[in-house]
């Protein structure tokens, strides 16, 4: 059976990896579009920051259930409901952590000097080549930051997971829920062990990211 800590790490890794794939195109669009209603899209992306996790979880639960559009589709496809499953947690976490990936991505991409992009185009590069050879490498520290933030944010997620996943040991019982459970059952030593592990992982991650970015900035100057 997967331990809660391991399950949390798994969920965080899958979520932040998928956010890299989903978030980068969104961030690219936000960073470079001249569309007038851009702010509307930005607001939608930022919504999970201000929304209470239980509210988000409630709506997702309705949607993921067998009567929801996505839930019904998923059930027909896989045979089990999206709610109360690991996949459901991944879906929920992607939405919940979206701003923590997209916002750093967007600001990193937008801060790439436009003159470099112009130079690349006038040297004959297609927009794909410009993105992968110029924009992406220069924005890389911000992209790593977005990855790490969404990872850490998913790691500590509580409300959405509780609403969506229930509390099924080995399947949807993540570390933060397990800690809450253990405290409820007055098992303080286990809660303490799990807490210090989460604290350690989160802190180590931030130290690693900052060190990486520092080294890189030093090299470019």
């Amino acid at each position: 059976m997967t331990s809660p800590i391991l399950l949390s790490l798994q969920l965080a890794l899958v979520t932040s990896s998928l956010l890299l794939v989903i978030g980068l195109p969104v961030a690219c669009w936000l960073a470079f579009t001249r569309f007038r209603l851009r702010f509307l899209v930005e607001s939608v992306v930022a919504l999970p920051i201000v929304l209470p996790p239980t509210v988000l979880g409630f709506y997702l639960l309705l949607e993921f259930g067998s009567r929801g559009w996505l839930g019904a589709f998923w059930q027909r496809f896989t045979g089990h409901t999206l709610a109360f499953s690991f996949e459901g947690l991944v879906f929920g976490s992607i939405i919940y952590s979206l701003p923590f990936a997209v916002q750093p991505f967007t600001s990193a991409l937008a801060s790439v000097d436009r003159r470099l992009l112009a130079a690349s185009a006038s040297l004959g590069a297609s927009s794909m080549r410009t993105f992968w050879r110029i924009t992406f490498p220069i924005a890389f520290p911000g992209i790593v930051t977005g990855f790490a933030l969404s990872f850490a944010h998913t790691l500590g997620e509580f409300g959405v997971v509780l609403m969506l996943g229930g509390n099924i040991a080995g399947r949807t019982q993540t570390a933060s829920i397990a800690i809450y459970d253990n405290v409820q059952m007055l098992d303080y030593p286990t809660a303490a062990r799990q807490s210090i592990t989460l604290l350690g992982i989160s802190f180590a991650l931030l130290v690693l990211i900052n060190a990486l970015n520092r080294k890189r900035n030093w090299r470019l100057q």
Partner: protein, 382 residues
């Protein structure tokens, strides 16, 4: 269909915020200087040719390719125009080495050919020793050399240069220009060089296009263009520090001069004869470096303008000293004390060397004489 056979044909209309830009010109396989004040639309012209900006109307051809034509809906993207564009900022890719920067435009070529061309251009621009360094680790002049090599190695069919060397010091600049012009002569591609520096325009080319408020107002050899009466806007731009509104008092056709009175003052200046009659308005321009300063009234001198004045302020500038000298008007210490209404002092800006300042022991408040040759005074187009 293509009536013109010139390697570059430009005909564009862009509604800029301040004025509508509408200009038409052609260029042979030559260097053409695009001269004008900042905000005259020079960069918009270059951006349209390079493809960064879309004119609302017009047609641009490079060689036998139509790169833009509003009538036929042709608008080639930047990457297909084969136009080299170099601006004041080298815009080197900071995460790539010098070699990788130069190589960037050749990524579609086979490795062997790429290496050969990159190697040759690195040698030519004397940056082979820097090949493995990052842009942040080389000097500004070297960065601009790399940017130039990166552009030229792609063999563009047209070169656009937007004050590419204005951030460099004089020595570096002439060295780079030499390499650039050698290359241009060799490849015989048209080259548009934007500048707002008149002396640069003189030295660079035998053809200057003057752009003013989005229109080409003059096209020809630099000495012809710059000696013709020009606008006040351009006089300010070309470093005429003293510009006065004046009125013609008297013409002396036998002497080849005219006496002009500076507006709102009693100051008279002898200016070269122009096609004007007494009472006409005239705008006069005078360079600060063309005025001499004397501590006593000079005698036996050919200059026709000897003006008494007083130094108001002395400012140390890079390489020289700027004096502000007030002339004419009614002096506080003038005897008689008949204060004339509507006569103001006229302030001249004068440049002298630091040596002259020390030698003459000039200080603020001192009375001096300004000496001005008739032909130092330029008439401006009104």
């Amino acid at each position: 269909m293509n009536a013109s056979s010139a390697p570059l044909h430009v005909e564009i209309h862009i509604p800029l915020q301040q004025f509508p830009l509408a200009c038409t010109f052609e260029a042979q396989r030559e260097v053409v200087v695009l001269f004008g004040a900042s905000g005259a639309g020079k960069t918009s012209v270059l951006d349209s040719i390079a493809g960064f900006r879309t004119p609302i109307r017009g047609r641009i051809t490079i060689g036998d390719r139509v790169v833009f034509c509003s009538e036929n809906g042709i608008n080639l993207p930047v990457r297909h125009r084969r136009v080299g564009y170099l601006s004041q900022q080298p815009a080197l890719f900071p995460h790539l080495s010098v070699r990788q920067n130069v190589e960037y435009g050749l990524l579609d070529l086979p490795q062997a050919e790429r290496d050969e061309r990159v190697g040759a251009i690195l040698e030519r621009f004397r940056i082979a020793a820097l090949a493995s360094r990052r842009p942040a680790k080389i000097s500004g002049g070297e960065q601009q050399r790399v940017a130039l090599a990166r552009t030229l190695v792609c063999e563009p069919e047209l070169l656009l240069l937007d004050e590419p060397l204005s951030a460099l010091d004089l020595g570096l600049k002439s060295l780079l220009l030499e390499s650039l012009f050698d290359w241009q002569r060799e490849r015989a591609v048209p080259m548009l060089y934007v500048t707002h520096d008149q002396s640069e325009a003189y030295s660079l080319s035998r053809r200057v296009l003057v752009l003013e408020k989005g229109h080409v107002v003059a096209d020809g050899e630099p000495h012809r263009i710059f000696s013709a009466p020009f606008s006040r806007e351009r006089a300010e731009l070309s470093g005429y520090e003293n510009i006065f509104d004046a009125a013609v008092e008297e013409t002396h056709s036998a002497l080849g001069t005219m006496t002009c009175r500076v507006m709102e003052s009693n100051l008279m200046l002898e200016a070269p004869l122009a096609n004007k009659t007494a009472g006409d308005a005239a705008c006069l321009a005078l360079r600060a470096g063309d005025i001499l300063v004397a501590t006593v009234c000079p005698t036996g001198i050919s200059a026709r303008n000897l003006l008494p004045g007083r130094i108001r302020v002395i400012e140390d500038r890079a390489g020289m000293v700027e004096l502000r000298v007030q002339c004419g008007g009614t002096r506080g210490d003038a005897k008689g004390g008949v204060a004339q209404n509507k006569t103001q002092r006229t302030e001249f800006c004068v440049h002298v060397t630091r040596g002259a300042l020390q030698n003459l022991a000039l200080r603020a408040g001192q009375d001096v004489w300004l000496v001005i040759k008739t032909h130092s005074i330029q008439f401006l187009r009104s």
